[in-house]
Symmetry: C2
Subunit: 391 residues, 2 copies
C-alpha cells in the first residue's frame, strides 16, 4: 500500500498473467450466506501461477486484504507498469516459489475487482445491486472460495496465506474446512476485530455515508460517485496502515514544495499532501459500496464467537493445519498481542505452530513490503510443509 | 471528553461562575499575527475563580484543549447539569485550589466559545469571517492571552497549566514571556506536532471540507451547517483520544441493544453507537470552521522551529519557569517519548523540571479524567511554587 517503498526488481516474475472468472451458485443453487440470505449467481475473479502437479499436493491459496484483488503477481500486459500487489513474494524462486507451487489468488465476494459485489448487475433488476447486495462475512467469502477450489479440482491446499483481512480468511479456512488445509500462514491479523479497528472502519464508513453523492448506495448511474467521502475513508485507512515511527521517518514535519507555512488551508506538510494524493488516487480504482461491505465483514469477523462459542481454543480445536503466524512490531491495528493470543489458543489445541514477531517500523503495511526475513520464513515453512504432505 | 467516566462529586465546587469578555486590539491598535496579518478587534472569553491576593503572586492561568472553553469549573446557573470541563481539578481544596489561587481560564483566539473566531462578525463586512478569518497560531493565541493578563493586572503568573493544545500554549507562554511565568505544567503535550498527529487532523479537516454544506466556510446564513463532515471529524478525534486498551475495556465487541448482528449498516457494536453519538452531539456545540483553524494551529505548532532555529534546547534556553511535565502511558497521540525529549531539552538548559509518566489506560483523554496521582502532583507542585515565589 505504500508507494514510497521501491519494490525489489530481481527480474523473477511470473510474467504475463491473466485474470479468470468463475461463476457458480446460479439459481436455484444459490449460496446460503451467514445472514441466512440465499445468494447467487456469484462470480469470483482469480489468477493462477505455476502448475498443479499430478499429485495435486502443491496448491497454495493466497488471499488478499481489503482493497486488494486477484492480481497478486506478474503483469497483465507488456505495457503494465506495475506488477501484482505481492509480486515481491510470489514468483520463481521467491518466498512463494511458483516453480514449485501452483498458486491460486482469489478475489473476495463483495469486492469490485471482478467478483460479484455491490457494483455488479443484479440479474433480477438488471441494475447494480448497491445496498441490495447482502451483507457478507469472512465465512461467506471463504465459502465462495471453496467452490472455486472444487472448480479447480483442488481437494487439499498445501497452504493458505494472507495478511490482514486476508489473514482472517486464512483462519476461517482452517476451521471451516480443516480437512482441506494442510498448512496456513496468517499474517498481521487477528481472530476478532478489536474495538479500535471497528472504530476506524466505522468512521471511514460514516465518511462515505455522509457524502451526498452516495445516495444510499444508488450512485452508479448518476455520473457522480461519493468520491470525497471515499477519499476521506481511504485516508483514515492509510493512517492505520502506517505507524508513528514510519510517519516520522517518511514525512516528519517536512513541508511540501514550500519553505514556509502557507497560512491557509493548502497542504503545508508532506504528510498532508501524501494523504490527499492517496485519497484521490483510490477513488479511481475502488467502489465505495465495496468499501462499506468489506469493512463490515472485517468488523463482524470473530472466529471465537462463530466457531467456538466465544472461545478461541474451542474454535481452533476444529483446525488441523500446521501454522506459521507472523506479526510486526509496529503494527498497531493488529498488534502482536493479538497474534500471541491466537498462537496460545492454537498451542492449547496441540496444533503445530511457529510464531514470529518481525521487527518492522512500517506498521500494518509491513506485511506487504519487502522483508528478507518474511520471505525466508515463508519459503522455509512451505518447503517443510511440502515435504510433510508427501509423507 | 469521555462521557462514560463519572466525574468525582466531592461537593467542592467553585459554585456559580460567570463568563466574562475582554475586547482589545480595536483598529488601529490591531494585533500582529505570526502570518503578518494585523488583526482586531479581538474578544477573549474568560472566567476567574478565587481571589487575586494583594501581592498578586497567586494567579494561575489554565489553558484548554481543542474544543474546550473558558468554563473550566463550577456552574453557570443552578439549572446547569454539568460543571466546567476540569471541575475535578479546579475548586476549593482540589488540585488547583481556588481557596489559595486566583485562577484565570482563557478561551483561545479562533474558538467559537465566546472569543473571536471564524464564526464572529467581521466588523468590516458585518458578516461572519468564515474563511476570511486569518490563520492563527498557538503563539498568536498566547499573545492574545497576554493582553488579557495585562487587563487583569497580572504581571507574573504563579503557574500556567494546560493539556494537549493547552499544553502547547503553556510551552509557548514559557518561551515567549519568560519573565511572566514562574512555573508551568504542560500535560500530555508535545513541542512539535508529529506527522501522525498532523495526519489525523488533516483527515478530519478533509471530512469537513468534503461536506457540501461547508461552502468554503460561508455557511453561517444558510440554515445548513457542515454537520455530517464535522461529526466525522469529531469521531476521528475521539478515536485518537482513547486507546486500544481503553476501547477494549469500555466497548470490546459488545453489541448495542441487540443480541446478534444486524446484517445491515446499523450500529451493531457499542463502539459504533458511541462514536455516532459523540459526532452528533458535537455539532450542536462547535463550529466547523473553528475546528479547521484550531487544528491547523496545532499542526503548525513547532516550538523548536519558531523559537530555537530547530533546536528544542535553544528554544527552552529562553524559558525561566520551573516545570512539572506529565505524560500518560497509553497516550499514543502525544506519547511519553515526546515528553521525555522535552524534559531532556529543559534539563540541558538547567531548568528545574519534574517529570512524571502516569500509568493510565485512557489514552490521551487521561489528563482530563479523575486521577488522584495527578491532582496530588499538581497540588504539591503549586504549593512549592507558591512558597518559592514569595522568597
Amino acid at each position: 500500500m505504500s508507494e514510497y517503498i521501491e519494490h525489489d526488481a530481481d527480474g523473477n516474475s511470473v510474467g504475463i498473467v491473466e485474470k479468470k472468472l468463475f461463476t457458480f451458485a446460479a439459481p436455484p443453487d444459490r449460496l446460503t450466506l451467514d445472514s441466512g440470505v440465499k445468494f447467487g449467481p456469484i462470480t469470483l475473479a482469480y489468477e493462477t501461477y505455476g502448475t498443479l502437479n499430478k499429485e495435486k499436493d502443491n496448491a497454495v491459496l493466497i488471499l488478499h486484504a481489503l482493497t486488494g484483488d486477484a492480481h497478486t503477481a506478474g503483469y497483465h500486459s507488456n505495457d503494465d507498469d506495475k506488477p501484482g500487489w505481492w509480486d515481491i513474494m510470489v514468483g520463481p524462486q521467491k518466498g512463494v516459489d511458483t516453480d514449485k507451487y501452483f498458486v491460486v489468488c482469489s478475489n473476495i465476494l463483495g469486492s469490485c475487482m471482478g467478483s460479484t459485489g455491490p457494483s455488479s448487475i443484479d440479474p433480477g433488476t438488471k441494475k447494480p445491486y448497491g445496498m441490495n447486495f447482502p451483507v457478507v462475512t469472512i465465512s461467506d467469502m471463504v465459502r465462495a472460495q471453496r467452490q472455486l477450489m472444487d472448480h479447480l479440482g483442488i481437494e487439499k491446499l498445501l497452504s493458505v496465506i494472507g495478511g490482514s483481512i486476508g489473514g482472517m480468511q486464512v483462519l476461517e479456512w482452517c476451521v471451516q474446512y480443516p480437512d482441506m488445509v494442510f498448512s496456513a500462514i496468517p499474517l498481521a491479523t487477528t481472530t476478532r476485530h478489536s474495538a479500535l479497528a471497528i472504530a476506524f472502519n466505522e468512521v471511514a464508513r460514516q465518511a462515505i455515508l455522509a457524502d451526498p453523492n452516495w445516495k444510499k448506495g444508488d450512485y452508479y448511474d448518476n455520473g457522480r460517485k461519493p468520491d470525497l467521502g471515499l477519499a476521506v475513508a481511504r485516508m483514515i485507512g492509510h493512517i492505520t496502515y502506517l505507524s508513528d515511527e514510519s510517519m516520522r521517518f517518511k514525512f516528519g514535519r517536512r513541508l511540501q514544495d514550500r519553505s514556509d507555512f502557507s497560512f491557509n488551508f493548502d497542504a503545508d506538510f508532506q504528510v498532508e499532501s501524501y494523504l490527499r494524493y492517496q485519497g484521490k488516487k483510490f477513488v479511481d480504482r475502488f467502489d465505495a459500496n465495496s468499501f462499506l461491505y468489506i469493512t463490515k465483514a472485517a468488523d463482524y469477523f470473530d472466529l471465537e464467537r462463530q466457531h467456538g462459542a466465544g472461545s478461541a481454543v474451542e474454535a481452533f480445536s476444529k483446525a488441523k493445519a500446521k501454522f506459521l503466524v507472523a506479526s510486526f512490531t509496529s503494527d498497531w491495528l493488529y498488534p502482536t498481542y493479538q497474534s500471541r493470543s491466537m498462537v496460545k489458543a492454537m498451542k492449547k489445541c496441540g496444533l503445530d505452530v511457529s510464531f514470529c514477531e518481525i521487527e518492522a517500523q512500517w506498521g500494518h503495511d509491513a506485511f506487504l513490503l519487502p522483508s528478507a526475513r518474511l520471505s525466508a520464513l515463508i519459503s522455509g515453512f512451505l518447503d517443510g510443509a511440502h515435504r510433510e504432505i508427501r509423507k
